[in-house]
Symmetry: C2
Subunit: 355 residues, 2 copies
């Protein structure tokens, strides 16, 4: 294997490696398994920006005491189908996992569940949590606030996040529909990449530090600018709504007070807030009938006439599912930089690695 | 008053006029009051595309038997905080009103309510229904499918709608936040207006009948094209999700089977499907604390630095609220065409009119 080649590692090997790394810094075994699975599943689904490339920073933050190694969740309030949880700076992945578990339990009992959790942290890929509802044939939903990266509409202070939402819907013969997106037109990573390549960006992606449209990727983010919200004022409105459904609802940290993963943060509580919903189709058409209806609906979309130059119409989650099948067979591709960072981390932790 | 002047009519007079028209075609008094209030409130909030200008078509559809004059709602299923309703082709405004009432009752009992209703019809302005939750200091939400006006992403058949969503959040000293939007970049009305004026449209608003971007407003809608979804594939995904949360969940009519208000439809069931949620902040930070936190959050957004050339940062619902205050004082402005149509309708119904 050449030094500059992409290396391929199987899902299982990479997951075991991550779990061991988490265990080494004090994460309980069962939780290390869960977080490692979520992390490597992100790579498996092609969302590699939120996968193992983040492991070193997650481990560092655990070592520095910025995150609790053992997940501690307390119930602040609980009433019927709702629960209000506090995560005390636990790992975002675990806080979100436990909260979604609870929303699912609520939906199994009441037909519907809404669980909000505050004082959580960065949780990676939003869509993986509503997908937990699929095992029970329930509909899952998540909404979260996030670190600040955008201006309010008409503003020039970076005080709102691209606050993601995600949904998962079970289907029958078809694959589940999973919609997962953030409320910026593109990610900050995309702007940084364009800046590195010396490329301009299309108008509509970002604003400069004065709040004016820019084609310069540096001005649009690293230079103090703002990612532009999806759909202009519509996406801006939804960003605010997502804040109100999470931190404002719980009295948690607003986006403007959340530090990014890469900032020093001795408070020990990154403080992200999330809300989760699960809904049981048995309260409506019925679980089995719903899955059949999903199949029929997906078919009707996919089988409709294609635009000139388009071969296939996709539904949300389809590209990620195809990547998953492919990478389960071929292994997960890791670029040389990632392998280098993970190897260095493994050696400093004294963990054996699969590279 | 010149024939070509805009006429101003007070909210109360216009509402009474609409209520009388509805009563004349067999709508029970109490329901006529509710629908008239919703209709004229749309104009009052500046959403005049969905206000009294639609009264003649609503009345015509009632006369032709395409809509039930008396609202008939049956409960298909009910479990804890959820309910599944069937509206049997009742007026959309009434079906949505009753369903939101039920979601609010559920939230008062359980902290959370989700109510879905099928076989409804056109209901006007989505945001008015979640706003019903504000009287109880609850959070309100609505999602709906709609008549077909868009292609799937990569398609060229008009089989999906611009399926709106809306949220309402109570505040304290500040006005409630009301976010209400459809998932197309612009409305079909805007394209029709551009075509009438002989103007081109910006790329990104619409696709032609082959599914390719167009700057021609006729090609983009009336000529068989498609409104473009907000945020490209993100908005497209949300359109599908909104269908799954409504018609797919209930086994109701999918968008592709829903006729527009302006098509003949002897089935008597337009068939729109909606879902409603209400959430009680008492299950989280508490109602009073939530309203205070909303105020603080709104202040933090509005008081942040402005972009170059921007005087004020707005939050969702603020422009509509200001229009409401202004028009309550000045009266609702009606263009000559609308006055002419409403006068003709009033005369044929034998109803006195305020023009």
């Amino acid at each position: 294997m050449e030094k500059n080649d992409v290396q391929r590692v199987s899902f299982e090997d990479l997951k075991n490696f991550c779990a061991q790394a988490y265990q080494k810094v004090g994460v309980p075994d069962a939780e290390a398994e869960i977080v490692a699975d979520l992390l490597v599943r992100s790579d498996l689904r092609g969302v590699d920006t939120h996968g193992v490339t983040r492991l070193p920073i997650y481990i560092q933050r655990l070592q520095k005491g910025y995150v609790r190694p053992a997940c501690t969740i307390s119930v602040v309030k609980e009433k019927g189908p709702t629960a209000f949880l506090e995560a005390h700076g636990s790992m975002g992945h675990m806080a979100a996992y436990r909260a979604m578990e609870k929303a699912i339990e609520k939906a199994e009992e009441f037909g519907l569940g809404w669980v909000s959790v505050k004082d959580s942290g960065h949780f990676g890929v939003a869509g993986l949590f509503p997908m937990m509802a699929l095992k029970k044939d329930l509909i899952g939903y998540i909404v979260s606030n996030s670190a600040p990266m955008m201006f309010p509409w008409g503003g020039r202070e970076r005080i709102i996040g691209n606050n993601p939402l995600a949904y998962a819907f079970p289907a029958g013969q078809r694959q589940p529909v999973v919609l997962d997106f953030s409320l910026s037109v593109v990610s900050s990573g995309k702007l940084i990449l364009c800046r590195k390549k010396g490329e301009r960006i299309p108008l509509g992606w970002a604003l400069d530090k004065n709040g004016l449209p820019t084609e310069d990727p540096y001005e649009g983010y690293e230079g103090g600018g703002s990612l532009a919200p999806v759909g202009g004022h519509k996406g801006y409105g939804l960003v605010l709504v997502h804040e109100m459904l999470t931190s404002v609802l719980m009295g948690g940290k607003w986006t403007k007070n959340i530090k990014s993963l890469y900032e020093e943060d001795k408070s020990g509580i990154q403080g992200t807030c999330h809300s989760f919903m699960a809904l049981d189709p048995d309260c409506f058409i019925g679980r089995e009938a719903f899955k059949k209806n999903m199949d029929r609906y997906i078919d009707s979309i996919k089988e409709s006439a294609k635009a000139k130059g388009t071969d296939e119409i996709l539904v949300p989650g389809e590209p990620e599912y195809r990547t998953e099948l492919k990478l389960l067979k071929e292994g997960i591709p890791l670029p040389p930089n990632t392998v280098k960072e993970l190897t260095a981390m493994a050696e400093s932790l004294g963990v054996s690695h699969p590279f």
